[in-house]
């Protein structure tokens, strides 16, 4: 029982970070139809930046916020290059984000070196139902809940959020009413950067990151996002939690080294299952 609870909580916490990364994929894909391969980069940049800012003596809270903002700016910059040039085909934009992810390797190694790094955020642990659980897990879960609520409000209530949804719903009509889809696309990239950055800041205390952690982070985030066909942030949350818990259970009860395979196999299964449902006509748009 005790170990089950601790696996569950850690699974939910990692699931939340996948969900945050996944909702970044969703935010960008809805508006631009581009899958951002550099999504993992945001988490890496924020994690490494927070670590070095804390090392420079910035207090907790401020360091994390600055790191998340840095990731947002990186998102903005990637958006400008990937979708800022009008008429760039989506498949080209996709490969461009892949390239920018590699460019980020060069920059990250220059600034932070190539060794993994981590930092403590909230120390200590609590006892829950016979299990000892690190407090950090609850920080991750709590922050994710708040952000998902805020994200829901943003899209449902604000004028800007509705304009972003409008771009997703009908880009041609969005242009007719004066919404600039390119500007909105870049904005979506910035939002994706913030969400990815938050995931990175939260997860680095649990799991050290290095410049090349982005592939694993991005594939988990993508796996979470495809639960909703890359278009629904709420489905990304569900997908992330399912994925996180399954991975934690496999790691706990079966073998930690099968964790990745299970996650990836799950992702492949979901994608193939979705492709069977979809008609070939809507796929062509993707």
């Amino acid at each position: 029982m005790g170990s089950f609870v601790s696996y569950l909580v850690s699974g939910l916490a990692f699931g939340c970070s996948f969900a945050l990364l996944g909702s970044g994929f969703v935010a960008i894909h809805r508006v631009t139809r581009v899958v951002n391969f550099a999504q993992g980069t945001f988490a890496v940049v924020a994690g490494l930046a927070a670590g070095s800012l804390l090392g420079d003596g910035l207090p907790h809270g401020l360091a994390e916020v600055v790191a998340i903002l840095v990731a947002g700016v990186v998102g903005l910059a990637i958006g400008v290059v990937a979708v800022g040039k009008r008429g760039t085909p989506t498949l080209a934009s996709l490969v461009i984000t892949l390239g920018l992810g590699i460019l980020a390797y060069a920059v990250e190694i220059m600034i932070w070196g190539d060794q993994p790094s981590s930092y403590p955020m909230v120390r200590g642990s609590v006892h829950v139902a016979g299990a000892t659980v690190q407090k950090q897990y609850f920080v991750v879960i709590g922050a994710a809940i708040v952000v998902f609520l805020a994200l829901g409000l943003f899209f449902a209530k604000t004028y800007l959020g509705k304009a972003l949804s409008a771009c997703a719903s009908n880009p041609y009509a969005a242009r007719l009413v004066g919404i600039d889809p390119v500007r909105m696309g870049i904005l979506a990239f910035a939002l994706g950067g913030l969400l990815g950055g938050l995931a990175g800041v939260l997860v680095t205390p649990l799991q050290p990151v290095s410049f090349d952690s982005d592939v694993a982070l991005a594939t988990n985030g993508f796996a979470a996002a495809i639960f909703g066909g890359l278009n629904k942030p709420s489905a990304a949350l569900v997908g992330g939690l399912v994925l996180g818990v399954v991975e934690a259970m496999v790691a706990g009860y079966v073998n930690a080294s099968y964790q990745t395979e299970v996650a990836l196999a799950l992702m492949l299964a979901v994608m193939i299952w979705q492709a069977r449902k979809r008609t070939s006509l809507t796929e062509e748009v993707a």
Partner: protein, 344 residues
């Protein structure tokens, strides 16, 4: 035509003059070119992005190495490398090729990651340590030891891949495939067996990578999961895009430009006085910047762009292959300004 012969002659003679370390680069360039020809065929002619090409490179390497290490003939190993890679691609391709665009890209990436994880955990494949002591290739009782022989072998492989590709594109199915890269629906409605063609191209492309992997295993004599990182798959895509998708010679040019640039910067980065990580930083930056700049400003790739430039000076001469481009290019009106199909 004379240009092709000249390139062929230079390729043949190069091993005689290259230094030992340059010869290694020359061989790795050739293996990269083979794998990239496959990526270019898949991207340019079937409109599919694969981020898992290095997985088939690995499969070829492991096939060749395992056959040789378990007492089989090395020639059999080299022959089986592309065959096994191609067959596995055909099997994996049945479910995976239902996916398109970014879904397929992520699926092939996932396949690559799963393969690496599995190979790293199974003792038969040597685990994370890999396979060592792979014997050199023996052809008709003669063992290939000299790098020079491997150079010729590699470039014979490149020539084979180019020949196969050229015949495929010129064939009737090849022209039908070309239609695949622009619109699958259009191709399907005009009676092209889309699924079968995609699977064939995918298997063939994997076969090229498998052959390259086989040569690589015998040349180095040592392989491990770490020899086939995800970045290698990305690298093949970069080379294909930079060279020019859907062209015959583009992948070779792309592989050449990138390999040589990375090599030069690597030499520069490891000079005394340079910062510790300079070499890594340089090579990542080169991949990235070339890829992004080419996609944004020369979307058809270096080869067609250069050919255009030459053509401007000498009218009527076209050294380039058929016009290519990133799938999705070539519409006069960007898709976004069209009336959208609400997608659900």
């Amino acid at each position: 035509m004379w240009l092709g012969s000249l390139v062929g002659l230079v390729t043949l003679l190069a091993p005689l003059v290259l230094s030992r370390s340059n010869l290694t680069v020359y061989i790795l360039l050739g293996t990269a070119a083979m794998a990239t020809i496959g990526v270019s065929l898949l991207m340019g002619y079937a409109g599919q992005v694969s981020l898992g090409q290095a997985a088939f490179y690995a499969i070829g390497s492991y096939t060749a190495a395992l056959i040789a290490l378990h007492g089989g003939s090395t020639v059999l190993g080299l022959v089986c490398a592309p065959v096994v890679a191609g067959l596995l691609a055909a099997v994996v391709g049945v479910p995976i090729l239902r996916l398109r665009g970014h879904y397929l890209a992520f699926a092939t990436l996932a396949f690559h990651l799963i393969l690496l994880a599995v190979v790293g955990q199974v003792a038969f494949f040597g685990g994370d340590i890999g396979l060592q002591g792979i014997p050199p290739l023996g052809i008709a009782g003669h063992q290939l030891v000299a790098s020079r022989s491997y150079a010729w072998l590699t470039w014979a492989g490149v020539a084979l891949c180019l020949l196969v590709t050229r015949n495929i594109i010129a064939s009737r199915p090849g022209r039908a495939m070309r239609a695949l890269s622009t619109s699958e629906i259009a191709a399907e409605s005009s009676g092209v067996p889309v699924t079968r063609y995609k699977l064939t191209v995918f298997a063939l492309s994997a076969g090229f990578a498998g052959l390259a992997g086989g040569v690589y295993a015998f040349f180095l004599g040592y392989i491990a999961p770490g020899s086939f990182p995800v970045l290698l798959s990305f690298q093949f895509v970069v080379m294909a895009v930079v060279g020019g998708l859907g062209t015959i010679w583009g992948p070779v040019l792309g592989a050449g430009v990138i390999t040589i640039l990375v090599q030069v910067l690597n030499d520069l980065g490891t000079r005394p006085g340079m910062p510790t990580h300079a070499a890594a930083v340089f090579s990542y930056a080169v991949y990235a910047l070339l890829l992004v700049l080419v996609l944004l400003f020369l979307p058809r790739g270096l080869l067609p762009a250069t050919a255009d430039l030459i053509g401007r000076f000498r009218r009527g001469d076209s050294a380039a292959g058929p016009p290519g481009g990133v799938p999705g290019r070539g519409h006069d009106v960007p898709p976004r300004s069209r009336a959208p199909a609400p997608d659900h």
